[in-house]
């Protein structure tokens, strides 16, 4: 096991290098310009944009730029945002807590919905409960988040006037009032994300429980005279959750990149909105930093998922 781990970690290094080359190439070749806003302003001479391009090293040959970036990254220098003229790590650190809070909570909500609903649906397949849950899951899944978000705003902010729909990182309140305000402004983005993700997860939980329910050992357990509750809790759910656990492990990295559309709608200053604005403004150092951290997390959690899977399911051997 530990030899397997070491080998996987050793493989991860060239893999990440390869990923970084591809990422860098894609971003460097992609069209777009950090200074496009200046273009329609007749007062800004074109040579300013050209000079900026030159000072930021955008006109240098690609391999040179890559090596420069890699060396800096290895020394802990994440680069410098074209747009904000701030170090990228500062930008990311500023956004991280909000991102983790909103997306993380949404994920917990999604799990809290998906686990019971998925299990119950699978235990009584094609019952009324299952039909309703399935339909709702597909409503959630087939409506884009830009649409459900707006729907919530229309109902809860505009019709009912209960909740604010603009997320503010600096609330002008302290103590209990802060908590209340924070809860009020987080409810809608968390709900939108949680429901969308919950819908997807429900389908997978249902699928994996369905697969376990009909296995022989479950029948054996029933035949032994165990109560249905005990059968479900001890034998069905525990085994069905093995794949679900690996699913969760694989989803963790996406918490880092945030939810682009939802963050945009509710103006949540998370990593997702940083990423999308950086992409649209061709702020390559920011995009590169976020995507590279994401890549590292993906590789890491893939490894964790594989280990978990092997540990939970003894039939798999890592030779």
């Amino acid at each position: 096991m530990s030899r397997y781990l070491v080998r996987r970690l050793l493989i991860a290094v060239p893999a990440l290098l390869g990923i970084s080359v591809v990422l860098f190439g894609v971003l460097a070749l992609a069209p777009g310009d950090p200074f496009s806003e200046l273009a329609t302003n007749a007062n800004v001479p074109p040579d300013v944009a050209q000079h900026l391009r030159a000072t930021l090293g955008l006109d240098d040959p690609l391999p040179l730029r890559y090596v420069r970036w890699l060396v800096a990254m290895a020394r802990g220098d994440w680069g410098y945002s074209f747009q904000s003229r701030v170090h990228v790590d500062e930008l990311i650190l500023q956004r991280l807590p909000t991102s983790l809070f909103v997306i993380g909570t949404a994920y917990v909500v999604a799990l809290a919905v998906a686990l019971p609903v998925g299990i119950l649906s699978a235990l009584r397949p094609y019952s009324i409960f299952d039909q309703v849950a399935t339909t709702l899951a597909f409503v959630g899944f087939s409506l884009p988040t830009f649409f459900t978000g707006l729907l919530l705003i229309l109902v809860f902010s505009i019709r009912l006037d209960w909740l604010p729909f603009i997320y503010r990182a600096d609330l002008d309140a302290t103590g209990v009032r802060w908590l209340v305000e924070q809860a009020r402004q987080s409810v809608m983005p968390i709900a939108v994300l949680g429901l969308f993700q919950g819908a997807v997860l429900t389908r997978f939980v249902r699928a994996s429980v369905l697969d376990v329910v009909r296995l022989d050992y479950v029948n054996t357990a029933r035949a032994k005279g165990l109560s249905e509750r005990r059968v479900v809790a001890k034998h069905v759910v525990r085994n069905a959750l093995i794949p679900v656990v690996t699913v969760i492990a694989l989803q963790v990295p996406t918490i880092f990149t945030g939810a682009v559309v939802t963050e945009q709608i509710f103006r949540v200053p998370g990593i997702g909105s940083l990423l999308i604005s950086a992409v649209l403004a061709s702020d390559t150092p920011v995009v590169l930093a976020i995507t590279f951290v994401y890549a590292v997390l993906v590789v890491l959690f893939n490894l964790i998922a594989d280990l978990l899977y092997g540990w939970l399911d003894p039939r798999i051997t890592y030779a």
Partner: protein
């Protein structure tokens, strides 16, 4: 967590030895028999085929032009002249939905097929071969999983648009590009599901038995393992159709999708969002169309899954 075009999580189901797998020849026949008895699945199949038929034949019957502007009739609720109402330029929504449906459905299905084909091949190869092949293929999967989708889309469309346009014409060219891009970025979950299935299945007795009887690896994969691995793959595929239809709407939004005068369902829904409180019909129809498509395809998927699992007790 990515919204709008979620990267589906990977699920590895634990499937026991289906004793009937050896009789693979009658599998298709039996599956169809089981599928037909699955009422919801059959209903879904009927709805999905009807939708497809309507968007294909509809514009031939319903002759109102989809791009005629009429400012006197803008944002009208459904009426005789405009059965689904009009949008803010006074264009007939039914005509637009019919036209856009062809594209949305085609995008959804084609992208799903691409994702499925690539995913199954990669996953099966990695899961069956194991060892170095598995490692290399899984690192490739990691690479694709960690690619930033938005800049990549920009890059691909920017690099190949003129080429595809010259080769296939403006609409077909962009269609092929979009489908390739969406499908090409969605195969990874399928690959991981298939691989996980293979990891468990290849160690099972019936596969050992097939191997011992001298079945070639190709035969082992296609005849013995793959049919048993299909369940979760089918679920992922049905979700992929929906995700592709929605992903196309995000592309339209970013200006990377079809030209602005082509009304795909996702695009109509996006255009309608700011008038949601005032003209709900505008969003209602494309929203319902997407929902019905996704739901029916899902039930078809469920039905297929049950039908393909020979031990499954048929639903009541």
């Amino acid at each position: 967590m990515r919204d709008g075009g979620a990267v589906l999580p990977v699920v590895a189901d634990v499937v026991a030895d289906p004793s009937t797998a050896a009789r693979a020849g009658s599998l298709a026949h039996e599956a169809w028999f089981r599928f037909r008895r699955h009422r919801l699945a059959f209903l879904g199949f009927v709805v999905a085929t009807t939708m497809a038929a309507v968007v294909i034949a509809g514009p031939l019957v319903y002759r109102t032009p989809m791009d005629a502007l009429d400012f006197k009739a803008k944002l009208q609720a459904p009426s005789r002249a405009h059965p689904f109402g009009t949008d803010d330029l006074g264009q007939d929504l039914l005509a637009r939905l019919l036209y856009g449906g062809r594209i949305s459905l085609a995008v959804g299905v084609s992208a799903m097929l691409i994702a499925l084909t690539v995913g199954v091949i990669m996953g099966a190869a990695a899961g069956y071969a194991g060892g170095v092949v598995d490692h290399v293929l899984m690192r490739v999967t990691d690479l694709f999983l960690s690619l930033p989708q938005l800049p990549l889309l920009l890059l691909v469309i920017y690099l190949f648009r003129d080429y595809a346009r010259a080769l296939l014409g403006p609409e077909a060219g962009i269609f092929v590009l979009i489908v390739t891009v969406i499908g090409g970025l969605r195969w990874m979950p399928v690959a991981r599901i298939v691989r996980a299935q293979f990891l468990t299945l290849r160690e099972q007795d019936f596969v050992h038995a097939a191997r011992a009887l001298g079945a070639a690896p190709g035969r082992q994969i296609v005849r013995h393992i793959l049919p048993n691995a299909l369940g979760p793959v089918v679920v992922a595929a049905s979700l992929d159709v929906a995700a592709a239809i929605l992903a196309e709407s995000t592309l339209s939004f970013l200006g990377l999708g079809f030209p602005p005068d082509i009304p795909t369902w996702g695009r109509i829904l996006f255009d309608a969002k700011d008038s949601l409180d005032h003209a709900p019909h505008w969003a209602l129809f494309p929203g319902t169309a997407i929902f019905l498509t996704v739901l029916s395809i899902n039930y078809v998927g469920d039905g297929l899954r049950d039908a393909l699992d020979p031990r499954r007790v048929i639903g009541r």
